[in-house]
Assembly symmetry: C2
Homo-oligomer: 402 residues x 2
């Protein structure tokens, strides 16, 4: 492996000259392959001439407002990755025969940039998103990339659109890296061209008025993922089929789908979140349990963080193991169920207060010490801890200053 220092070749048609200083000394491994790799040092910037007005914080709805710029990387099988581009946010020209519109050759990530009390912008374990996106890309035979280089470019997007990172606890700038096939032929085969892009959307707290516990409908008809399927990859394919069941759960008066699989209704996920159950087991142990990464479960960054955090506390058993609906229902009936919550980037944790299964509603406790509370003590503690790390209040290797 040969390392070469790359010349700094940034060009900007407008604006910032600070980028050069930051990226000038960037180096990257160059293998024997002649194909282009993503090089943050080659980032090219074209800034908007029409910056949009910021949207008042109280008007932010998740995923509705986007910043002034986006980051794009184009790839072809012949030439590899081209030069990274920051350019004004705007529509893509996509041919109607493009594979992304027909065969769902698309995968994505979701992560957030937080503004800390000192005004600095921070990311939370962003390398995990790069790693997962490469796993998704591999599954689709879309091009992989060097995550650290894409991350450098994402940081530059954040510097470019820094005014869009909202201030205040619970506010953040949601980042959406997306990788699509741009193959313009109708055969179902490996893509010869692709595009990675990153867009950014300012958003408010998931629960603007504090926690709000949700009710779950255990879907016995639809199955989110299957052994031998792609449930452990963040592919568009996993999301389209989830909308029908979600609409169905809402029509029955519940807020999210509880996904299960098999005759014994093994628990999988909650809506688009990982699932955690905190309970006293039949043999009297206190245990936090989440389904194992057996190929059907999305390896969530928040899931992983909760496991590491609670294991570091050493206060109760923390398990990745299978658990089914009958066990959960019995625990509820026997008063052994302590808490149930979903976990994901959007919400950190979402407490659950009720689960419908086979015609019966099973109650899930929230805070026994406070009947007004919408979150159990464990969910609240995890939320506060991760929140403090994300906003730089608690020092942690997980929080990366941009």
């Amino acid at each position: 492996m040969v390392y070469t220092a790359r010349l700094f070749r940034l060009s900007a048609t407008y604006g910032s000259t600070t980028l050069g200083l930051r990226l000038l000394h960037s180096t990257r491994p160059v293998g024997s392959a002649a194909l282009g790799q993503i090089q943050a040092s080659q980032l090219q910037k074209t800034l908007t001439t029409k910056p949009k007005p910021l949207v008042p914080k109280e008007d932010l709805i998740f995923g509705h407002v986007f910043t002034d710029h986006m980051l794009t990387f184009e790839w072809t099988a012949k030439a590899g990755w081209g030069r990274p581009q920051i350019k004004p946010y705007g529509p893509l020209q996509i041919d109607p025969c493009c594979a992304v519109l027909h065969y769902a050759l698309e995968c994505f990530e979701g992560l957030k940039a937080y503004r800390d009390a000192q005004g600095k912008v921070r990311l939370f374990r962003p390398e995990k998103n790069m790693e997962r996106m490469n796993n998704s890309a591999e599954r689709l035979h879309l091009p992989q990339f060097e995550g650290s280089q894409v991350l450098e470019c994402i940081k530059e997007l954040l510097r470019t659109d820094e005014r869009w990172v909202p201030e205040g606890r619970g506010y953040s700038l949601y980042l959406r890296p997306t990788l699509i096939s741009t193959e313009n032929t109708l055969g179902v085969h490996r893509s010869n061209s692709a595009m990675l892009f990153v867009i950014a959307s300012p958003c408010g707290p998931y629960f603007p008025t504090g926690f709000k516990a949700v009710s779950l409908y255990c879907d016995e008809t639809n199955v989110r993922a299957w052994p031998g399927g792609v449930g452990n990859k963040k592919l568009g394919s996993n999301y389209a089929p989830s909308i029908g069941p979600q609409v169905m759960a809402e029509s029955k008066g519940y807020q999210q789908v509880l996904w299960t699989i098999g005759d014994d209704h093994e628990l999988m996920e909650v809506g688009t979140m990982n699932l955690f159950v905190f309970w006293r087991t039949e043999d009297g142990n206190t245990e936090l349990v989440t389904p194992p990464l057996d190929g059907t479960i999305l390896p969530g960054v928040t899931r992983d963080s909760i496991l590491e955090l609670t294991r570091s506390w050493g206060e109760f058993k923390v398990s990745e193991r299978k658990i089914n609906m009958k066990q959960l229902a019995r625990a509820s009936d026997e008063g052994r169920l302590l808490e149930v919550f979903g976990a994901g980037t959007a919400c950190v944790v979402t407490p659950v207060n009720r689960i419908h299964f086979q015609g019966k509603d099973y109650q899930v406790p929230l805070d026994p010490a406070n009947s007004e509370s919408q979150a159990g003590p464990l969910a609240a503690r995890i939320y506060n801890t991760l929140f403090a790390i994300q906003y730089g209040e608690l020092p942690s290797k997980w929080s990366v200053v941009v």
Copy 2:
């Protein structure tokens, strides 16, 4: 239900004046809903000023060349379907936050237009495609539509691009209706806007030099569809995950994936085709069998046609039932296997000559009377019959003159 005769409101900026006569008396049911429905009578045409040169027949590669025009229908939750448009083929402007690029909110169809010996253009059971597309749309909570109206518009696209329907046995114009979400927000929810479009691609015979039998690799790792999944809908979601296994099969020297499910390797599909097995059962019956439509199998138009056709012959048992790899392997070993073939719009039938399963290649007979033949007698007979119907040589209600 009130029927109203619609005024003819076609506008064309260039070209044909024959459309009016054809659509003038079109009527459609108007319900109490105020939302717009697709009305072929309102089709608006904008013809290209730069018609492309036709591609020589011998240079046609499936899905690489497209005709001069495309058909589009836009929908919003507020207004329903807008006016159908025929316009020059060209790129769509798609916002980078559009749900189709993130959550695979897309479904499609594939059907062909054939030119018969009299020069007339024909479709094959196109109402089946409209019906299936509505089922796909429903599963994604994308808008449904009146298939007969879309079909009228497709016929007009065919009249508009008639010079692109190639002449000659085996040649056809492949039509690709596609329905995508155009929702420009990042939340995972029901779409508030969508677009249906139809593009057309001239293509040559699937087997330019006569039949060519293919080898199959039985994939024990990946599962195409599962109970509670969406395998019976023509969604993009089902195709993205199939490319990896297909590449893997090719890397092992086989041409297509044989999809199975479960511990007993129940047979499902072949590549992107339905699967048929023709054999002598252990109790001595001659039987044509294909997996049943249990929710995991695509309800193929060719599949359905083969079932109806062979049942009408009354010469052997025709079954839709489960069959597993062990049964198939034993039949091969015991000399009871007569033929195996895939069935789909692209190829009509694709004969199979070999199946790899758990380290062993199982031979599948082709034509015992002709060692040079690349198709068994049943596959060839089905092919020739459907072909004759599609090209108008054999009268049938299945063939629709445009």
